[in-house]
């Protein structure tokens, strides 16, 4: 059994990515399409939230992805710092762009949802606030990549930023909870109602739950496809610039 580190070979990774990509992409498209269509067209309105409950099929998956993508970046950054496999840090870079879009989607859908539910686009609720901070971390991470010319230096620095940033993100999360405790409790009641069905019938919750699950899977697959694609792109770019550099030399 070959070690999984073999996939850290850029050539092997590119090959694998190329074979896997079409399948994952198709699967992602199908799952997402089924999930969203099911959710949008074939689920009833919530008795309290009306049709806005349909936003859940985008909001919750994208919010989950936004957090988990950062977690994945943390892991791959650590791998780079410890084992120095270029692919892993490039995967982090590729994932970050997806992550920032997911964060943005979660923020926007949340804000749009907040207007009818809470009567305001934005409140400084702990959950929303820590999400905004996450968004800032993504922005800083990407800006740092952009600002550095030397690829290895950029890889090292962004990886350290990712790790230090994660620690501070946890701290902020705790701090924010503390800072705004007791305010805007409404959200969690509605969430509980909508998803776990504690204050409605079990059946209703399942009606919402299965399409939601499908959407979540769809978002995950979409993410996987995009990360494969973007990482391969980064590998190609690195190789091109190395070739060009050597060309200049001779």
């Amino acid at each position: 059994m070959a070690s999984i580190w073999e996939y850290a070979n850029p050539v092997k990774f590119s090959k694998t990515a190329s074979t896997v990509l079409p399948w994952v992409s198709v699967l992602a498209a199908v799952t997402l399409a089924v999930g969203l269509v099911w959710g949008f067209f074939f689920t009833p309105d919530d008795f309290r939230q009306g049709s806005t409950v349909k936003i859940i099929y985008i909001h919750v998956p994208s919010a989950m992805m936004a957090i988990n993508i950062w977690a994945m970046m943390l892991v791959t950054s650590l791998i780079w710092l410890i084992r120095r496999h270029h692919v892993s840090v490039l995967a982090a870079k590729g994932a970050a762009s997806v992550g920032v879009v997911m964060t943005l989607i979660a923020l926007i859908t949340g804000a749009v949802w907040g207007q009818p539910m809470w009567g305001t686009w934005w409140v400084w609720d702990p959950r929303l606030t820590s999400f905004l901070i996450l968004f800032l971390f993504y922005l800083g991470y990407l800006a740092l990549w952009e600002a550095i010319d030397d690829p290895d230096t950029a890889a090292d620095l962004t990886s350290v930023l990712c790790i230090v940033g994660s620690v501070f993100a946890m701290l902020s999360r705790y701090a924010v909870n503390f800072w705004n405790q007791g305010l805007h409790q409404g959200a969690s009641v509605m969430r509980a109602g909508a998803v776990t069905g504690t204050d409605t019938e079990e059946k209703v919750s399942n009606i919402f739950f299965y399409p939601l699950l499908l959407c979540i899977i769809g978002f995950v697959l979409l993410f996987v496809a995009l990360v494969f694609l973007r990482t391969r792109t980064e590998i190609h770019k690195r190789r091109t610039s190395a070739l060009l550099a050597r060309e200049r030399l001779s």
């Binding site: 800032l136 800083g140 550095i148 090292d156 800072w179």
Partner: protein, 218 residues
């Protein structure tokens, strides 16, 4: 190490006062706030602890790029890296010098600025205490940011962008401590958290700073 500290302090004082300028900036932010939000004193005293913390944070932030950039540009850092001083020591000293020239004067002057914003009477000791505990963390975290961006020409704004989210926990607990103090509420938790953050950061972050600095130097 001591040579480095005294040199940094000397430089801060001679170079037109890294010293006075942090304070002056703090003062000006505090003065601009009434101009921008309007002069009603009720509103002002509500936001006073927060504004004072925000001002301190921004004054710190603005002076961050002095911590390492000058030494980078004139090659001092290269030479330092080949000297017997460990880089961990260098960044710690740099953070200390930054705090002594920026954080400490703010702590001392804060009550005065509190006056300008109608800070409630009970708030003064808490404001000073929270700044005294919190500003060292700002300097240390700032040094990390400075080390991260030192290679980049005029990384000033990028530095702010990277450092500000890192400042959030300190700001929240610091401002909360000052606010609760002013309102006469319980202050133990934010105080413990603030102290925890400061100690944790002082103990751990210099290693990360030295690491990124080493990467940037090569």
């Amino acid at each position: 190490m001591i040579a480095l500290l005294t040199r940094d302090l000397k430089l801060a004082i001679r170079a037109g006062g890294g010293f006075g300028l942090g304070l002056a900036f703090f003062l000006i932010v505090v003065i601009l706030v009434p101009f921008s939000v309007g002069p009603e004193s009720g509103l002002l005293s509500d936001i006073a602890p927060g504004v004072l913390w925000l001002g301190a944070l921004l004054a710190c932030l603005l002076s961050l790029d002095r911590i390492l950039a000058l030494d980078w540009e004139d090659g001092t850092l290269d030479l330092m890296a080949t000297s017997p001083l460990p880089l961990e020591g260098v960044v710690t000293i740099k953070a200390l010098a930054h705090w002594l020239t920026t954080g400490l004067p703010l702590v001392i002057a804060a009550p005065l600025f509190g006056l300008l914003l109608n800070l409630p009477q009970a708030g003064y000791p808490w404001l000073v205490l929270s700044l005294a505990i919190g500003t060292p963390a700002l300097s240390v975290v700032g040094t990390f940011g400075a080390a991260l961006t030192v290679g980049l020409k005029r990384g000033g704004l990028l530095l702010s962008l990277l450092v500000l989210p890192l400042y959030v926990p300190t700001l929240i607990f610091g401002a909360e401590l000052a606010r609760r103090g002013a309102d006469g509420q319980a202050t133990t938790t934010p105080m413990l958290m603030l102290a925890g953050i400061t100690f944790g950061v002082i103990a751990l972050l210099p290693f990360a700073s030295a690491l990124v600095l080493r990467v940037n130097l090569r």
